[in-house]
Amino acid sequence: MRNTLAATAASIVAFITSSTAMAGKDLDAIKARGALNCGVGIGTAGFMLADSQGKWRGLSVDVCRAVAAAIFGDAEKVKYAPLTSQQRFTAVQSGEVDIVMGNATWTLTRDTALGLDFTGVYYYDGQSFLVPKTLGVKSARELGGATVCVAPGTTTELNLADYFRANKMTFKPVVIEKVDEIRAAFFAGRCDVYTTDASSLAATRAANVPPPRTFDDFVILPEIISKEPLGPVVRHGDSQFADIVRWALYAMVEAEEHGITSKNVDEMLKSDNPAIKRILGVTPGMGKALGIDERWVYNIVKQVGNYGESFDRNVGKDSPLKIDRGLNRLWSQGGLQYSPPFR
């Protein structure tokens, strides 16, 4: 295990010594390196998980792949760095990684005082509670006096304290840094409850329950106690790079809205629809405005897929998680996923 404090210290040293001549040149550094450094979590099924070959997969991972496809025309040009909730922000502040896709919630403080920029929302989430069925609890209101497992340095930790304070209940936190150690402590019964984003609870319930117990021995309580808009994080200072990250995600959403998929994108190149021609760079302009190849959206959709494809494959109906799209439906279908126009 990497010692967090040592990592923080290393980040600070990098920060203290990094030359100011680099200001606003994150994109140049990425291009020169030939790969995007993407910080991800330790391992959460459907969002960010390395398979047995060490290949990272998941909805969050797909956003990094989309950015690499936009910049290099190749979604594989990504180097992944697994980070804990404690390490992720110092890692991006110091330039150790270019982008963090660690299911980080967009908050005012993080966007300002931490020197970070959130470029959008790839998953509208909310915090909930996972409990064993044997606990016999039906509502979060019944959790007074419970022992709660939670990750440090998260919005989760703060919402938890807020929620119990607001409802005049007490709790005992057990705060462990690595997400797999938290899950182990929860499944061993050290805590009555595990709390984090509902998406991550669904992943834990689907993929991490140690046998002989199964999925069915645990329930996610109905209360959603917070708003957790999860977004890509870059460091403040290079707005061109931030724009590319922002629009790479929008491109996935816009492609879905126009029915462009990884399967039909080649035919779509021949489309007469002026909007689709602009999106796919048949009518040039968008790529130039961002300072990248005109075929950037084509590359993203061809190699990564549109937002709906990525959602269904990783966390939705075609995955073991079977998460309902809910708030993450397109705006045209009653959800919140909405891309500003491509023009």
Binding site: Q86, T90, L143, V175, D192
Partner: protein, 396 residues
């Protein structure tokens, strides 16, 4: 000194650039100047970087509401407390585990070190295996192992193992035990305890002097122990012997009432003590082995038992060899306690890390943690140096 001696030789003939004193000064000024420039450059660069990325700076955040809960606190704390308070709570937890760890590792390590020198083959082998096992596996693995053992091996709170006629409960939430309800008398018992300790120490010194002068022994250890136990008990009796207790009882999900030692603390303390005592054992053993064999033989010739010769002749002399390396073991315990975060014990590093994440002010927080560990380390070193001087060989 050599430089001055040279300088006092006829210096009129030496050109300034050949004068070692002048040259020494020039070099020092240049080095200090360069270090100063480098520091100035780094500070300036940091400030520029902070501003460019619009990262907040300064120590104002310390007074803001922390907003997170801490699971194991020695003083009053709630999410409404400040960041400064949260850091203080973490600091106290670090001190608690370090001080207990140092005391317990010293005892256990000394016993193991002496055990390895025992004539009893089995005892000495067991001690040797212990030392080898604990020294050669990284502490972090021991911590994970102990933590897993506690959380997997013990039942949940509803099936807690009860001991001592249902007054103590063991579960994966920790050990719950009854504690006396707060009473004003306890403060005076604390005062009595301090007075008794001072009294016992004075008694011990007096007994030593008398024995040195007259050769008459006095059982000062027994008398002192009696004083330390007796005086607080006397105060308790005089204070009306308050005996209302807070008993642990299952309520909802967890035990309520009494007091608890949590698994995270237990695992960390066990890990630190068992690991460090292996090193302490080696230090003690080599300290004793460093003594001339004649010491043992002379002690035996005087008719001292093995125990007496160990306690009165060998250990006091071995201490001179033992104390200096012991200092670094004590420093190690304090520093290693920061592995707490891996198993969720809320120590100083845990508080600081959360604060860094919630405020983004890494540099300020790392300065605080450096200052904290530095003061603890310097205090330990200062104490050990003082003790080392005290026991140093006095030539008569």
């Amino acid at each position: 000194m050599a430089v001055e001696a040279l300088g006092s030789a006829p210096r009129t003939k030496v050109a300034p650039w050949n004068d070692p004193t002048v040259r020494g000064w020039v070099f020092q000024v240049v080095v200090v100047g360069l270090v100063g420039l480098l520091a100035w450059y780094l500070v300036d660069n940091t400030i520029t970087n902070l501003e460019r990325q619009k990262i907040a700076s300064g120590f104002h955040y310390l007074g803001r509401e922390a907003g997170f809960e801490i699971g194991d606190t020695m003083v009053e704390y709630s999410p409404a407390s400040t960041y400064a308070r949260a850091i203080y709570v973490g600091m106290l937890n670090t001190l608690k585990v370090s001080v207990l760890g140092i005391i317990m590792a010293t005892f256990l390590g000394t016993l193991l070190g002496i055990g390895r020198l025992s004539n009893n083959w089995l005892l000495s082998k067991i001690c040797e295996w212990y030392v080898e096992a604990f020294r050669n596996v990284p502490l972090l693995l021991w911590l994970f192992l102990f933590y897993k053992l506690i959380s997997e091996a013990f039942p949940g709170p509803r099936q807690a193992i009860s001991a001592f006629w249902g007054t103590v409960f063991l579960s994966n939430r920790g050990v719950y035990f009854p504690v006396p309800l707060a009473d004003a008398v306890f403060k005076w018992m604390g005062v009595a305890l301090l007075v008794a300790i001072a009294g016992a120490w004075a008694l011990h010194r007096w007994a030593r002097r008398r024995q040195d002068a007259t050769g008459q022994p006095f059982p000062s250890i027994i008398a002192g122990t009696g004083l330390i136990v007796g005086l607080p008990v006397l105060v308790w009796l005089l204070g009306g012997a308050p005996h209302h207790m807070s008993w642990p009882a299952l309520k909802g999900f967890n035990f309520d009432g009494g007091s608890v030692i949590q698994p995270e603390f237990t695992a960390l303390l066990f890990g630190l003590v068992l690991y460090t005592s292996a090193f302490v054992a080696e230090i003690v053993r080599s300290g004793i082995l460093a003594l001339h064999k004649g010491q043992t033989e002379a002690a035996a010739a005087l008719g001292l038992t093995r125990g007496q010769s160990m306690r009165l002749v060998l250990l006091p002399q071995a201490l001179r060899v033992i104390v200096p390396p012991m200092t670094s073991q004590y420093l190690n315990i304090t520093k290693n306690s920061s592995l707490a975060i891996a198993i969720g014990y809320p120590d100083l590093v845990a508080s600081i890390n959360v604060t860094i994440n919630q405020t983004g002010q890494a540099i300020e927080n790392v300065l605080i943690i450096m200052a904290a560990y530095l003061s603890v380390s310097l205090s330990i070193s200062a104490f050990m140096n003082w003790y080392n001087k005290r026991i140093a060989l006095r030539e008569r």
